[in-house]
């Protein structure tokens, strides 16, 4: 059983972080970065994030396993049909990759191959069902597997997306389809988080709050304009603007959100964008 699964089951406060595979064939930098993470249970490996072509996350996840770290393999529906997805899943299990994060994937239009044919043969709910089927020894065609893989399988949610009820219906479908944990899109707004957690808690699935390190007011404005489901409230943008050291301020904001997560969620998913050395500070408990 993966460490992530054990800690989730034990009700412990879980910390995950993420790395992106390289745009090239040398994994050493990404692996070194992963080694520099401290206090993190598992490391997400992104899958052609933003529809930008990079090294296969399955390969990098397997290399993480080899260096004794636990990956969360992100798998999107954009680039593969149901055969490729299932065969990658069996391959992941064979390589010792146990944790998954199932996503629909960003639209190809905005990536570096905008002319690509997007697949979306399955959607994220259907892929969650497929994963569950595999763990029960059956593929999507109803055929038996010789040996069933074992996974700790999660999904994503945007707690502050509107309409709330629509977002929540999809969330509930993912729970029903077998999502064992959730990592959220970055949230900066405690009331929005409280509202979501009040509705989500009865479903009994662990939620790891997405905590993003915002480095400047400019970045906050960029997020507000371009990243769906991420809203940095104006008072926080002002705090960043007026700070003597905006990065320190960003760390302080991230720390506040970690504190929120400690009272409302079962963990955090850290997105530190190149400032991994600040992770201990972000996680440091105050008061």
């Amino acid at each position: 059983m993966s460490k992530l699964q054990q800690q989730l089951d034990a009700g412990q406060f879980v910390v995950t972080a993420e790395i992106a595979p390289p745009k090239g064939s040398d994994p050493s930098e990404a692996l070194a970065k992963a080694r520099s993470f401290s206090g993190v249970t598992a490391i997400n490996v992104t899958d052609n994030q933003g529809a930008n072509m990079r090294m296969s996350p399955l390969a990098l996840a397997a290399l993480l396993v080899r260096q004794g770290q636990e990956p969360v393999l992100q798998l999107t529906c954009r680039d593969r049909n149901r055969l490729a997805l299932q065969s990658d899943l069996l391959g992941a299990a064979a390589l010792g990759v146990e944790n998954l994060l199932i996503l629909s994937g960003d639209h190809a239009r905005f990536g570096d191959h905008p002319e690509a044919k997007s697949v979306f043969d399955l959607d994220s709910v259907q892929l969650l069902q497929a994963v569950e089927g595999l763990t029960l020894g059956q593929d999507l065609a109803g055929r038996s597997l010789e040996v069933a893989p074992r996974f700790c399988c999660g999904a994503a949610v945007s707690p502050s997306a509107e309409p709330f009820e629509l977002m929540f219906q999809k969330f509930a479908k993912k729970v029903e389809a077998g999502a064992g944990f959730f990592q959220t899109q970055a949230v900066f707004d405690p009331p929005a988080l409280e509202r979501f957690m009040a509705a989500a808690r009865p479903l009994g699935v662990p939620v790891l709050l997405g905590v993003l390190l915002v480095k400047s007011a400019r970045m906050a404005r960029f997020l507000n304009q371009h990243i769906p489901g991420v809203q940095v409230p104006e008072p926080l943008v002002e705090r960043l603007e007026q700070a003597a050291d905006p990065l320190d301020e960003g760390v302080a904001i991230a720390r506040d959100m970690v504190a929120q997560a400690r009272s409302l969620c079962q963990g955090v998913h850290l997105m530190t964008l190149g400032h991994e050395e600040r992770i201990p500070e972000i996680l440091h408990q105050t008061g």
């Binding site: 954009r78 149901r82 043969d121 959607d123 994220s124 709910v125 977002m167 489901g229």
Partner: protein, 214 residues
Amino acid sequence: MIISKQKDRQELLAALEGRDRIFLVGCAACATACKSGGEEEVFQLQEWLGGQGKEVTGSVVIDEACHIMRAARDLRQHYAQIEEAQALLVLACGAGIQSVSGSTDRLVIGGVNSLFLGNVRRFGQYEEKCSLCGECILNETAGICPVTNCAKGLLNGPCGGMEEGRCEADRDSECAWVQIYERLKTQGRQGVFARTVAPKNWAKGGKPGKHKLK
């Protein structure tokens, strides 16, 4: 209606390379409505070909070029002109072009690109609402097709890219799932949210096209 658009003239010229006598075919149905292959466009093309030093041996606008028998019959009536030509240039959708290429051994050159099955808002303004998937889900989606109108063709609700009701792939368009959700709500129905929709059976779309409808 099948929405189509003429290929650009340079591409046509390249396709006609070395063929100087051309017979023109149009379609009186969709291609006429789309102004890609009606009487008028056939005439314009004839003028243009003349200007390029080509001879048009004759032309016909078939009632519905997709109708295989009708296309064959209309072409037979122009047998002599077609015999004289080195190629047929067809201004009809891909289906129409293939009715023609199926009825003659002559070289057939398509002069349009077929775009989609379109609804007509007004002439010249078309909207794609159905992509002919073979397994229609409209009854559960309040009559709004997610296969076609959701940029990712998702079947179980919106993706994480939806923001303020707008689509991740095109902020100028509404997210199809918000539309579905809102219309179901006004109808007081659960619709597609009452169940998890299984993976689509793309085999029902039937490629290669061997549909047998009784």
